[in-house]
Amino acid sequence: MSLLKVNDLKVHFPIRGGFFQRVVDHVRAADGVSFEIQPGETYGLVGESGCGKTTTGRAVIGLNKVTSGEILFEGKDLAKLRGKEKRLHTRDIQMIFQDPYSSLNVRKRVLDIVAEPLRNFERLSPDEEKKRVQALIERVGLNPESIYRYPHQFSGGQRQRIGIARALTLNPKLIVADEPVSALDVSVQAQVLNFMQDIQKEFNLSYLFISHDLGVIQHLCDRIGIMYRGRLVEEGLADEIYSNPKHLYTKRLISAIPEMDPALRLEKTHLRQAIDDEYRTGYDNYFDKDGRIFDLKKISDTHSVALP
């Protein structure tokens, strides 16, 4: 059984306007998204700003109201759970946020930040709590003495590791990581990515990794879903997506990755132009007459594409 199964998830936000601020229309931020995550797997959700990837991630962790569809975590629909049972399940899903500068409360000490989930779910004596937090802080590579310090006393990479420690306190099964390295410099980014791989093995974690950076996604993820306008356009193993993209949008996204070999840059420019031309001429082959993306169709056991 898969750990997480998202089934035809729709998250629509109302647009209010006119007389009495009535709901005039909806923004279809996630419009029929389905994917599965197996235990220990890293699933990458990629797309550009506004494609609905963050909305999907937030819906999984319960920060957005689900309009319709199911989010099955270990077989139970999170959107329908209430009360005690919901609490029990939500502790197994934790989140790492994008910006380590705004996701940590500046007025709390590291101890209080990392212990907050513990205080919500477990009854520990101050001593036990301190031990747990220190062990975690040590695990993420910070000095255990630093638990009495405040976030502003740490660098960006260290802050992000505090955010990771907080996500790890309750031994979750799934971590939703929303652009966890986008705000960091490359060398710090490398540190955090390596560390995320380490703890994945150690804690047998699954990741839902949300990013716009295709290089990071390729490096980290086993399977990838490409999102565009609230829907998945292509899904498959990382290698399949990168070496054999089928949907026009995927091709466009992959051709946009900067070429790291200066000698090949002219070819890359030509490739992009060719894809842009195809975008103009072949648009109807990839989108239906309302401009909507087709449903995913399997083209092999692991690879599916949104084609008519």
């Binding site: 980014q189 990515l193 490096h219």
Partner: protein
């Protein structure tokens, strides 16, 4: 290579912190030629933006001390009065800013923002200015230029706004363009479009471009020459092909091997030990990168590191590159056993 457009000599930009001056750009010398894209790369805090702002004179004079020379069109920009500088900025020297959301004035139309530098610097009739503006909009790849001319920034997407920012910078045919992270705030596909546009424009114009970026991918796509900066100094300077094929300085090599796209087989990324020192804590004696490569013996470093020309056009600072090897398995994060409770 064409004529030299800009020559920076021993530039030192210092900021006042609690009454003392600390150099953020420390003795930088560079030449930018016609028809050339010179990329300046480095991580946050390395002084690359401070360098760009020193060239165009946008630092707050009350807290900044500028020493050295920035020679442009036969005069040292650092000695010019504000009025004289304003005759050059926006005319011979254009700037492309990072964030198109904040670089444009939300209260005036696209047309008037592009004509503004023309009004100031060129003697043109209203009709000529409008004609020129529309032509510029077309050149930066905006197709419905007549409509965009009278629109406001909020009506345009991020990519379109960045095109407008480029049009403003090009308004008076500058011979030098300074682009500070021109694609960082944009989505990947839009970034690719803007990079292609800038390459195309650069092929048409003859100006030199100083490209400030932290993204080595952007460098590989756009630059002709690359200067890598660390802690206020240039540590390596080379042609772009040479830099990517044969990087020499430990910092350049570490940086290149910490990029995920260079390591697609899910191996471990290289991590540079330690952190970038802050301005006040920076040890200005000896090799500034030495604390981050502690496994390299002290005698490999130069006492007073200078740039060595190892091949024509390829400069490296310090001698520590000669015996340098990457220490791949050390991640900077100490390993501790954490028992699940």
């Amino acid at each position: 290579m064409g004529n030299t457009v800009l020559e920076i000599e021993n530039l030192r930009t210092s900021f006042s912190i609690k009454g003392k001056y600390y150099a953020a750009v420390d003795d930088v010398s560079l030449k930018i030629h016609e028809n050339e894209v010179l990329a300046i790369v480095g991580e946050s805090g390395c002084g690359k933006s401070a360098l760009a702002l020193s060239i165009i004179g946008l630092h707050d004079a009350r807290v900044t001390k500028l020493e050295g020379q920035v020679n442009f069109k036969g005069q040292n920009l650092l000695n010019l009065s504000r009025a004289r500088l304003n005759k050059i900025r926006g005319k011979d020297m254009g700037m492309i800013f990072q964030d198109p959301m904040t670089a444009l004035n939300p209260l005036s139309t696209i047309g008037s923002q592009i004509t503004e530098p023309m009004k100031y610097h060129l003697k043109l009739s209203q009709a000529d200015m409008k004609k020129r503006t529309l032509e510029l909009l077309r050149r930066v790849g905006i197709k419905n230029e007549n409509r965009v001319y009278s629109q406001y920034p909020h009506e345009l997407s991020g990519g379109m706004r960045q095109r407008v920012v480029i049009a403003v910078a090009l308004a008076c045919d500058p011979i030098l363009l300074i682009a500070d992270e021109p694609t960082t705030a944009l989505d990947v596909t839009i970034q690719a479009q803007i990079m292609d546009l800038m390459k195309e424009l650069q092929a048409q114009m003859k100006s030199g471009i100083v490209l400030i970026t932290h993204d080595l991918g952007v460098v590989a796509e756009m630059a002709d020459r690359v200067a890598v900066m660390y802690a206020g100094q240039i540590v390596e300077l080379a042609g772009v092909n040479e830099m990517f094929k044969n990087p020499l300085h430990p910092y350049t090599r570490s940086l290149l091997s910490s990029i995920p796209s260079n390591m697609p087989d899910k191996g471990r990324l290289h991590v540079i030990q330690g952190i970038v020192p802050s301005l006040q804590n920076l040890d200005r004696e000896g090799c500034r990168f030495a604390p981050r490569i502690p496994w390299i013996p002290q005698e490999d470093h130069e006492k007073d590191p200078v740039l060595h020309e190892v091949e024509p056009g390829h400069f490296v600072r310090c001698t520590c590159y000669k015996n340098f090897h990457l220490q791949t398995e050390e991640s900077g994060v100490e390993k501790h056993v954490f028992t699940k409770s």
